[in-house]
Symmetry: C2
């Protein structure tokens, strides 16, 4: 496959992009962070399971934390080194802690949905009530599928509850207050280096795009473009319980794609055009990550002591199904990526 | 997808094809049947597991039995009804009985190969010695995969041994001798109807081609052409242990493709050109059938009482893997079929 090039991050005919754009973007994200934090506190973040508003607020908080952290990384030569190097791990800790609760819930929903699909029932189960509470008319779950669903429900709900408590604890910690204070400072005063005002942001944004392009070029895209290549399940029964090493470069591209996307937002400002190619590629990589983690969760549930063989069988089918989702997501990424970039602006 | 048309069974500029072609083809196949039978008897068909020569002879016997039976079906208006209607079920019984031994062996090989692939070991296991006798350097099998391999080895080897005995018994039976006698008569004298010499074979061959085209048109080829449609595993965990109803139309197309192929052989005689499209489509349907039956065997092994959960898990992964092979085979068929027929003659 020929090397694909990305859109230039800004209109090449325009002049240099100055540190004002960086400062403006960081201030806006910091303001959004503080707004989401206030909303999260007001919408009953203390409840056992967050309300819809509280969930939305936590998501917005993560969203701005990721954008601040990503911009500190991409444009670090313009920022006070000590400050930005102290800030990034704290933001990563925060968004990671907040993301976990959501991830466990989404993973359970994905796995119960797959169990129903694999049982020939079209209806999705209600997440709260478990897989076997809703026998659908078209095909009831087998004993194995129902027990696998109940086991996953138990394990992932427990993990989610723990993640929820951990998130609440984090939001009440002095560590978090220090992060919030730093973000509050950022909302008014961005600590730029003395040389920043004379620095053009474009080469730094272009470097982020190049890192993405290089990482994509290293992916096995020729294989991924051949449907049913049976690569994703190659270690489906291997003795190694660690995350599959073949997934790592894809996860890495997902992160680099995100950094590139944030850099585009920053460079274009409010007029940032939607790049459907990046959007589709990003969605494929999210699906890749979710399916890989769901496959892992099924394999891990199958290692629970004293489960029935029928339960283990259903978890084996589920694991393989999710690994095929991983393969399907790689195919979808390959298809999205090979499309020529179409300028929408 | 636009309706695909098949090659006309013969050169349309040539004249009618007469019953001589039918009689010649049937006589040749009957002679081949008798030759293979003699060879099968001479090459130690009585041994517990047939020698390579005996296996080849049994294959040739089945091959000619299928061709005789298929031609009796496609061209039945030209043949004595009582005789041909008495003959066909006997030939089907014979080739079915002979096919079983080979099928169990091939199924075991496919499943052990898949277990190795899923364990990240590239090497194929030796069929005779079971899956766990050959830990490969790259990745040894997990306990579950090794036990699943041993269980499948036990079950399918037993089934194969039984099929071997049944085949030997069949070949010594009076029922078989009656079939062999009928085929011996056919080798010298084909029982045509009085009207046969005046009948053109081409409309009958064309009707066989039309039956194939119609059956293909009824397949869900649009879905099959979208990779990773997740259709083949839709009932992967359903409570129903019967063969998957979604497979039946594909198996039916496989049989109709075979009848069409035999009709072409008969019409073209020795100059029958290879139609690569038919060849690829037929191979995809064979793979479809083999994977569907292997998936069934894995599911059935998982219902063995008192197996370990790890064994059941490995069998679940294996079942899903083979159902994905089913889906991959449908995709391959769709790809082969949509290619325009290219005349090679």
């Amino acid at each position: 496959m020929a090397q694909q090039h990305l859109d230039p991050p800004t209109d090449p005919t325009a002049g240099p992009v100055t540190s004002d754009a960086l400062a403006g973007y960081l201030r806006a994200q910091a303001t959004e962070f503080l707004r989401s934090l206030r909303q999260h506190r007001e919408t009953g973040a203390g409840a056992a399971s967050g309300s819809a508003e509280s969930v939305a607020a936590a998501r917005a908080l993560r969203r701005s934390a990721r954008r601040i952290s990503g911009s500190l990384h991409t444009f670090r030569p313009l920022l006070d080194t000590d400050w930005s190097e102290g800030m990034r791990p704290e933001l990563a800790w925060l968004s990671g802690t907040l993301a976990r609760e959501h991830a466990y819930g989404a993973r359970l929903e994905r796995l119960l949905g797959a169990l129903n699909r694999l049982s020939g029932s079209a209806a999705l189960p209600s997440q709260a009530s478990g897989a076997n509470a809703h026998p659908t008319p078209k095909g009831t779950l087998t004993v194995g599928a129902a027990k696998a669903g109940a086991l996953l429900d138990r394990q992932l709900t427990l993990a989610r509850t723990r993640a929820h408590s951990a998130a609440l604890q984090a939001l009440g910690s002095s560590r978090f207050h220090a992060v919030a204070d730093s973000v509050a400072v950022l909302a008014s005063e961005v600590p730029l280096t003395p040389a920043a005002p004379a620095t053009d942001l474009r080469p730094l944004a272009a470097a982020a795009a190049d890192r993405l392009t290089d990482a994509v070029a290293a992916l096995p895209l020729v294989t991924a473009g051949h449907p049913y290549n049976a690569q994703a399940l190659v270690h489906g029964l291997s003795a190694d319980t660690a995350p599959q090493p073949q997934d790592a470069p894809w996860h890495q591209v997902r992160l680099l794609l995100r950094l590139h996307r944030y850099a585009r937002e920053l460079m274009y400002g409010d007029e940032c055009p939607t790049d459907v190619r990046l959007l589709a590629a990003g969605q494929a990589l999210n699906r890749h990550r979710d399916a890989a983690e769901a496959a892992s969760a099924a394999a891990s549930a199958a290692r629970t002591p004293r489960i029935a063989p029928a339960t283990a069988y259903a978890l084996g089918v589920l694991h393989a199904d999710q690994r095929h989702e991983v393969e399907a997501a790689r195919f979808a990424f390959q298809q999205a990526w090979q499309k020529e970039a179409v300028r929408t602006l």
